[in-house]
Amino acid sequence: MKIIVCVSHVPDTTTKINLGADGKNIDPAGVKFILNPYDEFAVEEALKLREKNTGEVIAISVGSDAAKEAIRQALAMGADKGILVKGEKSDSFSVAEMLAEAIKPIGADLILLGKQSIDFDGMEMAPMLSELLDLPAATVVVGLAIEGTNVTAEKEVEGGKEIISLSLPCIISAQKGLNDPRYPSLPNIMKAKSKPIEEISGSPASGRTSIIKMDKPEKKRVNKIIKAEGNPQGAAIELVKLLHEEAKVL
């Protein structure tokens, strides 16, 4: 089985975000970048499938040299090789085009992604790839079963799950709950250093969207704090009164 995992290199959620001087991006100084957490579920699923069916797992990322770190992380988890598509990430659509272009000649049986990358929080890549590569897809998947070429995926939706049936080759985007990603062992981290990362250059289209500005959400919360201190009933009465009369949500 030939499996491709798309990985993105994103700021750790816990790092503080500062706005850059251009007012359109973050200031990357001091920001810790990691392998997108959802992509860990995708990598794990690929490794499990390889263990079951043999084959090859290829981690691919579009970005600058720095994105190699995300690929290395996937290699340390156990992927066999990496591909870095060098190109400017002007918007998700153009990243999807560069990914599709790189993926097409490989002829993969399965393409795995995370449900969303935690930088732009777009959730666009899997459906876009599905259109660009003309392959069926199931997104936000929490359960996956593959029998021969038949694929059954459980998609998380409002109030429950949808059971989607499709067949290989196809695209799956992983949601938390699909599996428990392994931690790279020290020997595997060492081994990953000598695994190959092929570099190709993407031909980015100019973005179809442009960022006018980035700003921090202004917090205009009322912020009235009541201390219960020995009088929980009094606090409850006051809270309900505020919700009813001031916030008018009850």
Binding site: E158, G159, S165, T209
Partner: protein, 321 residues
């Protein structure tokens, strides 16, 4: 400006976020709003409510194979209709289904797309869309450069307006589907029985590790039922196996924007805030006055949840009845 709004059908009726998307369209001064319904059987969906939503036209793509929904086929249908209807803007609610559908429509229309939009406004003749990024720590305002533009709108942020006089005309459009379009099929929808889902609820009561153990959720259920609320959970309690993942709010769970969000025994980690910071009113109950959740709430009670919840449940019952 011609705006096309996707009307999402589930179990024979149109879901609320579609009506909210109509409001988003109206708010940017649409000259004409068309609704598109992609369905296996139009008869069941085309209730008067749809006709009274204030749209001028409803385009129906009826195709028996949609008994097993396929996102690819739906994407093709919506893109075809957008072309035929000469839509400048396509708005799709950012529901579970819509988030999969909208990027497809954008690719098919070669259009720029802004996902999960929380604000849409006209500014000097250009449409500007706001989308939260970095787990809600920042917002980007985006200009779509292509002539056709696709947006998905976050549920619960626009208020669906009251029903209007029935004025919409209904038109059927035939789309030439091929086998491949239905290569993926939704066979089954397994609903968690009788529970209001956090993604759809107007009021949410979320509890976290401060509740000490799963055996204490009776208290949360009591309060939620007094409010008429859905129950949410922090990741800590989902990971501990106390609550199902479907209840998780936050970056790895669901993004919600209810009218009222009550967080109990939840510290307010950034990944949790990512999922609920666009809620209209936020209430926090926590025994630690320094918990970060107090920094982002409208109203808070510093106190022991086990003492406060029973009292609060009583007070809420009084006001609701």
């Amino acid at each position: 400006m011609n705006i096309l709004v996707y009307f999402e059908e589930r179990a024979g009726s149109i879901r609320k976020p579609s009506y909210e998307a109509i409001e988003a369209a109206r708010s940017i001064g649409a000259t004409s709003i068309t609704a598109v319904i992609v369905t296996a059987s139009a008869a069941s969906v085309l209730s008067d409510t749809v006709k009274r939503s204030g749209v001028s036209k409803i385009i129906v793509v009826e195709e028996a194979r949609f008994a097993h929904y396929s996102s690819r086929a739906a994407g093709k249908a919506v893109a075809e209709v957008a072309k035929q209807a000469n839509a400048d803007v396509v708005i799709i609610p950012a529901t579970a289904r819509g988030k999969d559908l909208a990027p497809r429509v954008a690719v098919r229309l070669h259009a720029g797309y802004v996902p999960d939009v929380t604000a849409l406004a006209m500014h000097e003749g250009r449409l500007q869309a706001t989308h939260p990024v970095y787990a809600g720590k920042a917002n980007v305002t985006i200009d779509v450069l292509t002539p056709k533009k696709v947006y998905s709108t976050r549920p619960n942020l626009w208020k669906a307006s009251k029903e209007q006089a029935e004025s919409a005309i209904v038109e059927n459009v035939t789309v030439a589907f091929d086998e491949k379009d239905f290569a993926e099929q939704t066979k089954e929808l397994v609903l968690s029985q009788g529970k209001l889902d956090v993604a759809e609820a107007d009021i949410i009561v979320t509890a976290g590790r401060g509740m000490k153990g799963p055996e204490n959720w009776g208290l949360i259920e009591g309060l939620a039922s007094a409010f008429g609320a859905a129950i949410g959970a922090s990741r800590a309690v989902v990971d501990a196996g106390w609550r199902p993942h479907s209840e998780q709010v936050g970056q790895t769970g669901k993004t919600v924007s209810p009218t009222l969000y009550v967080a109990i025994g939840v510290s307010g980690a950034i990944q949790h805030l990512a999922g609920m910071s666009s809620s209209k009113t936020i209430v926090a109950i926590n025994k630690d006055a320094n918990a970060p959740i107090f920094g982002v709430c409208d109203y808070g009670i510093v106190g022991d949840a086990f003492e406060v919840i029973p009292q609060l449940t009583e007070e809420v019952k009084k006001i609701k009845h």
